[in-house]
């Protein structure tokens, strides 16, 4: 299989401002054809704005948006080879399901027969075969969602943009749709760019995630990379649950926090550099006071079905969140235990590039250590 070297969509130092407010700052990325990408971030982080720049609803203030290497800043929306599934679906209320899906093909002057085939195929793809004659207001939210997807796909886009399409659905339906969207993407083999504020959704569906905040891409990588190696406080907090405490990297592979030294697996920092230490709640476990690396007092415990969610406090006053299968009564002093590779170190103000460079260096060194 030969890979085309030109990315299907690329942003080259894109800035976007509305008046005095800068919405996007120096956005620079490239995406490959045929993968499932997710833009993840809180509301107002600029993720939907990126979609609008790709779909042509907005133009960058400076920088370029490229499609297969061609600058497409001023291409009108209707001429771009991308289609959008809108957050509130934006189904045309004056048309039934069939006419909604047929809207794009008809504008392209496809024959009636070809249009019909297309619509039938698309409705089949989203499992709404029998719904062609329905009015939009007769559909449930989940069904409207499927129509919106079918309508966008009926235009044969090279890239499908999905703007928080699942946010209005209830939990169960959302889970089902996540799987289905992933399935549709694989089946069609086109590029999906999916916007969401739900980190769980992003981790479950994506080949590649861009984490956004304040109009900046904070970090991008595979779901595993981003979960395991958050680059900064924001990413660590936003993706999954985190215990973050201040600390010092005394030397390579030796961290100091909560008044104690801990062996760990991070390297490449200045000696005695001030850092933040991240420990994921699911990596922590409770044990006896003697065996614990830290001693904490249980503040609160709640049952979550497959585990207990425990809130505890150490003697320095740091709060610890622990997910464990061991139940402990509130007020009891217990030991807290974790492995060296569970300790993740974040430097202050480290850019993504610096981070990647250090990571590479440290991965080179790591085999020697083991």
């Amino acid at each position: 299989m030969t890979e085309t070297k030109t990315p299907i969509i690329a942003f080259d130092q894109v800035d976007l401002s509305f008046g005095d407010t800068q919405v996007l700052k120096d956005i620079d990325f490239q995406i490959e054809a045929g993968k499932f990408y997710t833009l993840l971030g809180p509301s107002g982080s600029g993720k939907s704005t990126i979609l609008k720049l790709i779909s042509g609803q907005l133009e960058p203030t400076s920088g370029d948006v490229l499609f297969e290497g061609q600058v497409m800043n001023d291409w009108p929306a209707e001429k771009r080879p991308v289609n959008t599934v809108f957050q509130n679906y934006a189904l045309f209320p004056n048309m039934n399901v069939f006419d909604n899906v047929a809207f794009g093909p008809r504008l392209k002057h496809l024959s009636a027969a070809a249009t019909k085939t297309k619509v039938v195929d698309m409705l089949h793809l989203v499992k709404l075969d029998d719904y062609a004659d329905r009015e939009i207001n007769e559909l449930s939210g989940g069904q409207q969602q499927r129509v919106a997807i079918a309508r966008a796909l009926a235009n044969d886009p090279e890239v499908l943009l999905l703007d928080e399409p699942l946010s209005a659905l209830d939990y169960k339906l959302r889970k089902d749709m996540q799987g289905e969207l992933r399935h549709i993407q694989k089946e069609l083999g086109i590029t999906f760019i999916f916007v969401t504020h739900d980190q769980e959704e992003a981790l479950a569906m994506s080949d590649w995630i861009f984490v956004m905040n304040d109009g900046i891409i904070q970090q991008n990588g595979t779901p595993e990379d981003i979960y395991d190696e958050p680059i900064n406080h924001f990413v660590a907090n936003f993706i999954g649950e985190s215990n973050i405490v201040p600390g010092i990297m005394k030397e390579d592979y030796l961290a100091h926090f909560v008044g104690k030294d801990f062996e760990n697996v991070d390297a490449g920092m200045r000696p005695n550099e001030r850092v933040e230490v991240v420990l994921r709640p699911e990596d922590l476990d409770l044990t006896s006071v003697e065996e614990g690396k830290l001693v904490v007092t249980i503040l609160e415990q709640s049952f979550r079905g497959d585990y207990y969610e425990v809130q505890a406090v150490d003697d320095d006053g740091n709060h610890w969140q622990v997910q464990t299968t061991n139940s402990s009564p509130v007020g009891e002093r217990v030991g807290l235990t974790f492995d060296p590779e569970d300790i993740h170190i974040m430097r202050f103000n480290e850019s993504e590039d610096d981070f990647d460079a250090r990571l590479e260096q440290y991965e080179d060194e790591k085999p020697d250590e083991n």
Binding site: Q57, E78, V82, N88, L107, E135, E138, N155
Partner: protein
């Protein structure tokens, strides 16, 4: 029904008063006497008189043609106005335009009539059907704008983005998405404009010449000379037409729900 309520009594009294004059007109249209006093027995004679009065029937026809023409044109221009106001990027421009729009809506009829009379005279325009038509279009436009504008505001803006996204140009967005979506507002505007035109007396009275007259103006001049029950017969007919129009309007206004319900019925019949 189970319990007597003062509020219901109040409503009955108000509605009785509201319909008393209309009922009165209708009842006396069947009076065999010639005045709206003293019931002298049932008769169709005033209806025969009405249908034999070619002059009056012609005026009725003129009035209807005028109302149809003026409301159609006012609806077209008013819809354009609403689209134009809605796409103004600045809130201030919108408000200024809307205030200007509403001037004719809140102005007393007499002022509109008098100022239009000055306008037509200043332009050297001869008074007659065309001046009345222009005046009716002019005072009906603002209500159309007011009926259409909320629909445009309520319209989900992503519908337009979606249509463009799927490849529609400006004209296709307008004709296939925007106009169909705001159609109920346009229809309501048309009906309002139609009623405004039918109901107008003062403005027409000012700007009509000797050659053209509408029903309102005719009734005014007849009523001043003396009451004829032919007018009652006409009122009754017009009341029935109004009722019909209201019914039509509500049938059309409720239309979106109909086909769906009908189809569901059909489906049930096919696969029980």
């Amino acid at each position: 029904m189970s319990k007597f309520k003062w509020s219901h009594l109040y409503l009955w009294v108000v509605f009785a008063l509201l319909y008393l004059p209309i009922g009165f007109l209708i009842v006396y249209s069947f009076n065999s006497g010639n005045v709206m006093q003293g019931w002298q027995g049932f008769s169709w004679s005033h209806y025969q008189e009405l249908f034999g009065d070619a002059h009056l029937l012609e005026i009725v026809l003129d009035t209807l043609v005028l109302a149809l023409l003026s409301s159609t044109l006012a609806t077209a221009i008013g819809t354009m106005g609403a689209l134009w106001i809605d796409r103004q990027p600045r809130e201030l421009t919108k408000n200024v335009l809307l205030s200007l729009n509403n001037i004719l809506l809140v102005s007393p009829d007499v002022i509109i009539g008098a100022s239009f009379l000055i306008l037509f005279t200043a332009l050297g325009f001869s008074l007659g059907f065309v001046s009345v038509l222009l005046a009716h279009i002019a005072f009906s436009i603002p209500i159309v704008v007011l009926m259409v504008l909320p629909r445009l505001r309520e319209m989900n803006q992503s519908l337009i983005a979606a249509a463009r996204d799927l490849g529609a140009n400006s004209w296709q967005v307008l004709s296939q998405i925007v106009l169909p979506v705001i159609f109920p507002g346009i229809l309501a505007g048309f009906f309002m404009a139609f009623t405004y035109s039918l109901d107008d007396f003062a403005v027409t009275f000012f700007v009509t010449g000797n050659g053209f007259t509408t029903l309102s103006v005719e009734i005014y001049s007849r009523a001043r000379q003396g009451v004829s029950l032919e007018i009652n017969a006409l009122s009754t007919m017009m009341f029935l037409v109004s009722l019909l129009l209201v019914l039509c309007y509500y049938l059309i206004a409720l239309r979106p729900k109909k086909p769906a319900a009908a189809r569901r019925r059909r489906q049930r019949e096919v696969n029980p």
